[in-house]
Symmetry: D2
């Protein structure tokens, strides 16, 4: 399913996203897009630059939304593993993360994602493997 702006809005209010500065923008057809506007509390050790763990968090999250967007009702997903590469310092936000499902079987989904800075320069890349589980939709990330 393609999520409507209203549906996304519900999730965008959660405490984790608020803490880290994540906002899901789109999710549909196995793809998703999210925006990271990191507050000072997650920019350490370099002021203004989100910690690598924060970049990972939005990547994992956006991947989960990309998968969720093609799952049937009653199914959700959870990360098995994720490999992230840090290409360049994340200096100029807001950052955008785009994720895309590359393959899906009955129980597994494979995803790729990129994070770009405000100038569309690549900041991080990653690939993740997720398990598809029976659970009413509650994105795992």
């Amino acid at each position: 399913m393609t999520f409507t702006p209203d549906q996304l809005e519900q999730f965008n209010g959660n405490l984790l996203y608020a803490t880290v500065g994540i906002r899901i923008e789109k999710a549909g057809d196995g793809k998703a897009e999210a925006l990271l506007s990191p507050p000072a509390r997650v920019c350490w050790p370099f002021p203004g630059q989100p910690h690598g763990g924060v970049l990972f968090t939005i990547m994992d999250t956006t991947m989960a939304w990309a998968i969720q967007s093609v799952l049937a009702k009653g199914l959700s997903c959870t990360t098995i593993d994720l490999a992230i590469q840090y290409l360049a310092p994340a200096r100029e936000g807001p950052f955008i993360c785009r994720a895309e499902t590359t393959h899906q079987t009955g129980r597994l989904a494979f995803v790729r994602a990129d994070i770009l800075d405000a100038q569309e320069r690549p900041v991080a890349s990653g690939q993740g493997t997720f398990r598809i589980i029976k659970m009413d939709f509650l994105p795992n990330s």
Copy 2:
């Protein structure tokens, strides 16, 4: 160098660690150990369970400390890439992360880490590759 409790204390006060609930316990001889006591704001979507990105954040952080503990003055490190596996739900904290440098060359360091729950059951495992850079010590995580 093996960091003294006082030196660790200085870093443990930073805003990111406070936000996420990280506390570095030990760092010396290429190894480090950190404790994760995640506040509610980073436990989503499951109450009481830190988000996968939070587990990643402490893993990346602990790895960086393990490397830093054997670097000469004037050198620091920064993550090139990190692959994390989620072995089991992170239900019962506080969680402990232990990292160990597996190999180091002039410019690169390779590290492994495990996260265990309060019962010492494995929750996540990972391996990271870090770049060694000229920079006065400011742990990148």
Copy 3:
């Protein structure tokens, strides 16, 4: 540099490629493409299906060519780490591997690759991190 068919031909004659069934088809502009026609000796345990290590070998190789295609004379590259995902059984060859450099700094190059079967169905995906070294061109793979 974009390699000419004659230049590629020289390398395609090497013993490893012959053993595994690899043939580099194109390399230029940070991209490369290679063909895998695996002989029976590397198809185990399933007859006709190349072992996962063989898929990895062509992926690593194609990535190295993608990077090499944009390096100056006197430089070469060597794999630091590579994460591969197996999406589906590799049943119907020949297989094609396409690699693309996603980012390059003075000393590091980041690459992605996909392997498809004869019907262009995805079989494997991967991302690699390479070190750029001073060495006359001898592709490391």
Copy 4:
């Protein structure tokens, strides 16, 4: 089950292992050990040094044996993904690979492995995620 030398011997005769130079030495209790004596045909571009894909092949193989050693009859495993780090040039063989299962659920197994050279110096490290499948034992690697 712990495999007996006779059982291992049956598998050690397969064509892939012979091509690449792999010999499984031990497999039991979630651990396995294999020896790599690479013939010239897989040592390229550096004479005497096995290609990175060959190191990967023995790692994937040894991991699969580690898992297989604790599976019930009628079950086998297949690689979902594997991340390998190359720590140092693989100059002096034979090489030994040791793998160990770090966690196992009903459907997934997580493994780590190291490859050492003849002086027990680390050459490569890795972590893999495997799917457990219903299939009479035919190690996937």
